[in-house]
Symmetry: C2
Subunit: 601 residues, 2 copies
């Protein structure tokens, strides 16, 4: 490989028996048996055992002095291990290298933790990120991440997609999140924004006749961070002209299938199932349902309109209210404590309680049902519940009744929670496999009560279904969008849409969103302008790379698939970014801190 080494430690196998090799790596573990010293030498490909014999006095003296994480160069002969000492967990486990020379390339101070300690706090890991990254798990995660991107690139390259870079210093695009701003030095009082996505630029590239574009690029959102969010994240961003919604979905579904196959040898279903938004919300209360969970809602709103139980009747008669049942097969054995825990759990999502019925013995009618609420439900309602949920003896039915959003969020989360629970797994309510799903036919608009106006469900550049253009202003709530999300096991992997390619339709959408002509011109004039020059029909989508790799590696957090992530306080513990800057720098940027006296420099 080089003048310094001939092979990787981790790839030193029995094929090299008898050969003299030079290896470079780190002391992973050192065992001093007095007569012999054993060193597990580690490089990115793994470990190999180095055996040091005191007969080589000079080398042995070095071997006695080295400690964990010293960086060494070693030469020696690859020798077979004796039968009892073979380690089948290592690629190099059938051999060891009998050390001839050893050179310390760099010493190490004692490390603050053992690399194979799996119980480190995140603060420790991020503070000592360089050592943390030496751990095999992190090495594997980042290598898988790389493999995913290369598979994506190869696939898109063969289909004629071209990687085109779009600006990082750009203009604010109002996609619902806060922008990161960059003050301009040359243009006093002005600011660039870091892109929340290359959405408008990729549309402009379609208008500019590039036909097929992709980019694996950083995007930025200054939001309060959750477990699966980072201030900067990476998007696989794609756009194409002259393809239908179906063709676009097929193309990117195949891409994801190939990525899973070629990196982890996982066969995803072919084709992915497709479900419209309304069905997904109806059955699972979610637009990204975890299809591994074999539980679904039964809508009981109509059934509950005239029951005595006020919570049900109230929700059933409320505008935008909803009542659902969630049948849990063989759930009747669930102890009171577990039901109480679920009641607390749904409260997180705003549910004020969690009604249930245990179906002990249907044949006994009302008597066979165990529940505090049965007495407030008339016979017809009870019969409808049993019939429509399909409940059998031994089942349990949970109920949600509230505004639809509360019901969907609370019972949707409960559905997933029960599916993943011990009971769920024991009773076959959880299919531990990869369950992708397309969710399609999203509404164009959501109504935002707070601001009393319609907002774009995806973004304002999403095209309505053919024939829905005329309803954009007259009946926005009924407009369906040519939008689609790819969902996997309850996570949104990516989403996209056919875009508006006609200036008149785009202007209508802006009006529906109460963006007046002046504001539209100021913010999106360049888009409206471009659409007038023969913009082609186009569409695309964007995948969240961090999230895909997190799923593929089974990591707990996207921070485990990013080399140098930020904490939930948006800080880099390694470099201490963000940090204070000189007054001179601020002055050059024409800004000053609030609530701070200017410092004299």
């Amino acid at each position: 490989m080089s003048s310094m080494r001939t092979h990787y430690c981790g790839l030193t196998t029995e094929e090299l028996l008898g050969q003299t090799v030079s290896l470079c790596g780190w002391v992973h573990r050192r065992r001093d048996h007095g007569s012999l010293i054993f060193i597990d030498l580690r490089d990115r490909e793994g470990l190999v055992q180095i055996v040091c014999n005191p007969e080589q006095a000079e080398m042995f003296k070095i071997a006695e002095a080295v400690r964990n994480e010293y960086c060494l160069r070693v030469t020696g002969v690859v020798t077979g291990r004796t039968a009892g000492t073979i380690n089948n967990n290592l690629k190099s486990g059938k051999v060891e290298v009998v050390c001839a020379t050893m050179e310390v390339l760099n010493a190490s101070v004692p490390v603050p933790f053992q690399l194979d300690d799996d119980n480190l706090s995140e603060t420790t890991r991020l503070t000592h990120r360089v050592l943390d990254l030496r751990r095999p798990q992190m090495q594997n995660n980042l290598r898988l991440r790389y493999k995913v991107t290369m598979e994506v690139r190869k696939y898109l390259d063969e289909l004629g997609f071209i990687d085109i870079e779009t600006p990082m210093l750009t203009k604010s695009t109002p996609e619902g999140a806060r922008d990161y701003l960059v003050p301009s030095r040359v243009n006093a009082g002005s600011f660039f924004a870091l892109p929340q996505s290359p959405q408008l630029f990729k549309q402009l590239l379609m208008v500019a006749n590039f036909d097929r574009y992709y980019q694996i690029t950083k995007c930025f959102r200054d939001e309060d961070l959750r477990a699966d969010r980072q201030p900067e994240f990476t998007q696989i961003d794609c756009e194409t002209s002259f393809l239908s919604e179906q063709e676009i979905r097929d193309l990117f579904e195949a891409m994801i299938r190939i990525v899973f196959k070629n990196t982890l040898d996982i066969d995803l279903p072919n084709p992915f199932p497709v479900m419209d938004f309304a069905t997904a919300m109806g059955l699972y209360g979610s637009d990204k349902p975890d299809m591994r969970v074999k539980l679904a809602f039964t809508d009981l709103t109509a059934v509950m309109k005239d029951v005595e139980f006020k919570i049900f009747a109230g929700a059933a008669n409320m505008e935008g209210g909803r009542v659902v049942g969630l049948r849990v097969p063989q759930g009747a054995s669930m102890p009171r404590s577990e039901i109480d825990a679920y009641t607390q759990f749904v409260a997180i999502y705003g549910a004020k309680g969690l009604a249930y019925i245990k179906v002990n013995e249907k044949a006994k009618g009302r008597e066979g049902l165990q529940s505090p609420i049965v007495k407030s439900l008339h016979d017809a309602a009870l019969a409808a519940i049993l019939e429509q949920t399909g409940a059998e003896d031994g089942d349990l039915i949970f109920f949600g009744a509230d505004k639809a959003k509360v019901v969907n969020d609370a019972i949707g989360a409960l559905r997933v929670k029960i599916g993943h629970s011990d009971l769920g797994k024991k009773n076959g309510l959880f299919d531990d496999s990869w369950k992708p799903l397309w969710v399609v036919d999203f509404p164009m608009f959501d109504y935002d009560e707070e601001s009393d106006r319609w907002t774009a469900t995806h973004h304002p550049f999403t095209a309505p279904k053919d024939g829905h253009e005329d309803m954009l202003e007259t009946n926005p709530g009924a407009c369906i969008a040519k939008a689609y999300d790819m969902v996997l096991n309850g996570w949104e992997l990516g989403g996209g849409s056919i875009r508006i390619h006609r200036e008149d339709v785009q202007s209508k959408v802006f009006r529906a969103l109460k963006i007046d002509a002046e504001e539209a011109q100021l913010k999106f004039g360049f888009l409206l302008d471009a659409l007038q020059y023969g913009a082609p029909p186009h569409g695309g989508l964007a995948f969240g790379l961090d999230r895909i790799v997190t799923m593929m590696t089974g990591s707990d957090s996207i921070r485990d698939v990013i080399a140098f992530p930020k904490t939930q306080r948006a800080q880099c513990l390694l470099t201490n970014a963000p940090s204070e800057v000189d007054e001179k720098q601020l002055r050059e940027l024409h800004i000053r801190l609030r609530n701070a006296e200017p410092k004299v420099v």
Copy 2:
């Protein structure tokens, strides 16, 4: 290809004769011959001629109405052109498509300029960038750019390099340029910096055992912009452990050779010549000499110490002064006007004049030399000039005498100017080919007179040559670095170095740069920390992608190889970034504008 089209316009060739095709594209040109309408339909692959016959009345009516840049879908039969109408400039030039149906996918308002107008102002082009990008030249430039990156990725992938993303929101690294800052909302009064390069992160990745890293990534410098600079630019950034300087250079030299071969079928020399920094400065006055120009300096400093001509003697005896001759073969015929023009040219670089000698007839001695300065040069000096420059009858010798920097800059630029001139090309002083060169053995430090201290020639993380470590503090000016630049035709394509991997050496360099321990800890504590944990020997380099593609495409400016560039005022004329932002946004970021009353929102 899809339900909308079967082929690309530009790839519709005689292989498809007789077939019915569906094409999508833009009206590039429309010629109405009354009886027939011809439309050149354009997509990203090029043009094809569409013939519209009035017998198809409905279609013909559409064809009569379409105008330039309308986006159309056309179906028709591929037919051979008659002999006289074949266009060999087009791939599709042997055929035309006899139009059966035509659909206007989108109309276009009249375009503000013709796409084939080559004399557009940059303001026009950047304001209407979407239309500008439709021009074949821009299409080709961005596709070549993409091909270059894919060749780089394939090459590095095969060698085990891994693309790892480093942060965009990071900490200021003082590499000589101004940082772009990003105010933090969560951490009041703190700022991220956009990276000037991933230098320290890639070194950390080597310490973290990733062994071979690359990234094609945006870097940011808030500098006053020149023709070949942008606020954001793209670097092919590479780093590897356990390779020698020579091995690293060989590896990346081969990469550039492959990129040129596989994209433009250009064979670069193998191997690239290597020249040390001192030789390059001595012969060409530049660390990135244009080796196409067959002219070189002759150092005459020693010769001029005792001549009567004060400008020469003064420079020769000055500390840091230099006198050089530049022999121009067959230059004696150069008219006075041209010499005057060169005199003005070198003044740009600070030269106070431009002495010369025309060698009319050496045999005549002093009488055969034509020059205002000959009378002030003694015989021995004249003999030395002729001998050392190797001047022949008919040659001209230019002289530079001043501080070395002025001489190098002025006569170095003159050398290139003459080489590229008509005279230079006529007289074989210019070899119009690709002339790569490695420049190596840079000094570790430059002395900055203004601040009266040593600064890092490359950056403070560059390793000194073996054995030079002890001179870092005692004799910084004599320290040579393990640094190397790849130069092509006078442009620096990339540069790099072996990095310091020992904490004690790194601390010495900081001290030589007058960065005290406290400041070093504050700014680079995380690096010094990492170097203590067995950091491996490592090095790498970074190429300027924009510049490479600019050279390869023969573009005038890097703005021609970037989809959405900024102007020299760091503005985007398309989106009007940077722009003013809301007071609310500033308040959230804990900053306010200087010299501005807070607005009430």
